[in-house]
């Protein structure tokens, strides 16, 4: 049994690897976009301009209130109906996860910036820093310490939520696993593999966040 189990994993390796690659690329791209978008969101909210705050609040509440799965369906099945445009399922997943992730990261960034003493901003302005210099040199680096742990938490949630992409037809690692199970009934083995896969993806992130937190608390 054990040998046949290993054998099954061995012969399924290329297929699993393709699925794993899909999961990885969806997660990595979504994390990258969510980070950039989240920083932009946080900084824009921090400016305190009403004409910016209103649309950003609406965006935030839409992604808070509506499940990611509904967004996926809306974009994948709804967009072609309403606009005639259609996005490949992979990019639908990346877009929805990025927008959702950006709203989550964005609130973290906003909170981090808000928690800085007001004097930091004034001290930066008083030596003539421009707004980009003020954020890049003074405010964001200080906020980084406070926002890294909750941001990494969002990253792991993005990785785990990427499995929903299976429902709009992306053949990611869980879908591949199900296909193998349907063929071989080796559910314990395959789910064991999936457990390990997601654990190995997410655990190092949490560990890194702890290490960074410790290191920065001294510097």
């Amino acid at each position: 049994m054990a040998s046949s189990g290993l054998e099954l994993l061995w012969v399924s390796a290329p297929q699993l690897a393709r699925g794993a690659w899909q999961t990885l690329s969806i997660s990595a791209s979504s994390i990258a976009f969510a980070t950039l978008g989240g920083i932009a969101y946080g900084v824009l909210r921090q400016l305190g301009k009403r004409w910016l705050d209103v649309p950003l609040r609406i965006y935030l509440e839409l992604f808070r209130a509506i499940p990611v799965l509904v967004w996926l369906y809306l974009l994948f099945f709804g967009l072609p109906i309403f606009t005639g445009l259609s996005l490949p399922s992979f990019w639908c997943a990346v877009l929805v996860l990025s927008l959702w992730g950006a709203s989550e990261v964005g609130e973290v960034v906003r909170g981090g910036l808000q928690s800085l003493p007001r004097g930091q901003r004034e001290a930066g302005l008083a030596i003539g820093l421009s707004a980009p210099q003020l954020y890049g040199q003074v405010l964001l680096p200080q906020a980084l310490k406070r926002i890294t742990p909750p941001t990494i938490n969002v990253y792991t949630r993005i990785i785990k939520t990427s499995s929903l992409a299976v429902l709009i037809g992306v053949v990611e690692v869980i879908k591949v696993g199900q296909q193998i199970i349907e063929r071989t009934y080796e559910s314990l083995l395959i789910y064991g593999f999936l457990f390990l896969f997601f654990f190995l993806l997410c655990y190092p992130l949490s560990a890194a966040s702890r290490v960074l937190e410790r290191r920065w608390s001294h510097a």
Binding site: A123, A126, G128, S130, Q133, Q137, Q142, A219
Partner: protein, 253 residues
């Protein structure tokens, strides 16, 4: 010759509360002006308006012959007007040297070697060269405030604004900070100083401004102001300070 800083009928309010009420003020190059007054009289707001951290509602503000208003590029002006705050506000994630060099390198785009030489010379002058690689939290309050003064000086400003810079310090650290300011005054720096240190005000000022209720209630040379204040409000204000200084010993039972 035109004044370096000139305010005319300058007013500022927070919401419906007037903070500065038609203030007229001229500060000449090289002059040391100390601003006294009870809290809430508008003295800090006055300083903050001079470098654009607050903007006025009415009246005019001129700096070096140029009018400053809502359309001004304040980044340019702020390089010429240094400001030091009550709670130092050093950048905690940067070393002393990084704090000093941020403005010269990023804002003024000066060469690293030249900016470094200036920063080190200034550190030497205030006796903190050995702290160049320390982080702010490793320094005492007095040391941090001296670094904050140097951070402003590294921009080679024409004016320095001091906003109650010793108010957050332990008494034993006040001296080391005031000495740096006195030293600057002797070097001919134009300064506007908001303080509650009366003896220091008397020693450093060319002119005392006494503010009350958003207006300059009285201005005079320090000797006249402290020995013979002209307004009742200033007399009351000074009495409160001398009351603490001359407090009688409690009678023993």
């Amino acid at each position: 010759m035109t004044a370096l800083i000139e305010l005319s009928s300058f007013s500022k309010r927070f919401g419906d509360t007037p903070v500065l009420n038609a203030v007229d003020l001229r500060v000449e190059r090289g002059e040391v002006v100390v601003i006294l007054g009870p809290s809430g009289c508008g003295k800090s707001t006055l300083l903050r308006c001079l470098n654009g951290l607050e903007t006025g509602h009415a009246g005019k503000l001129h700096f070096a012959g140029r009018e400053l208003n809502g359309k001004t590029d304040w980044r340019d002006v702020r390089q010429r007007i240094g400001m030091v705050f009550q709670s130092y506000h050093l950048f905690p994630h940067k070393t002393v040297l990084e704090n000093l060099l941020l403005g010269p390198l990023r804002v003024q785009k000066r060469s690293f070697g030249e900016a470094l030489a200036q920063a080190e010379a200034l550190l030497e002058r205030v006796g903190l060269l050995d702290k160049r690689d320390a982080y702010p939290r490793q320094l005492s309050g007095g040391q941090q405030q001296r670094i904050a003064i140097l951070r402003a000086l590294c921009m080679n400003p024409e004016v320095m604004l001091f906003d109650e810079v010793t108010a957050a310090l332990d008494p034993e650290m006040v001296k080391e900070v005031l000495e740096v300011i006195l030293d600057l005054a002797e070097g001919g720096m134009t300064m506007l100083i908001v303080t509650h240190e009366m003896a220091f005000a008397r020693a450093v000022a060319d002119r005392i401004l006494f503010m009350d209720g958003g207006v300059i209630a009285e201005q005079n040379d320090p000797e006249t102001f402290f020995s013979n204040p002209q307004t009742a409000r200033a007399q009351q204000f000074l009495e409160k300070f001398s009351y603490v200084e001359n407090m009688p010993k409690r009678k023993s039972p």
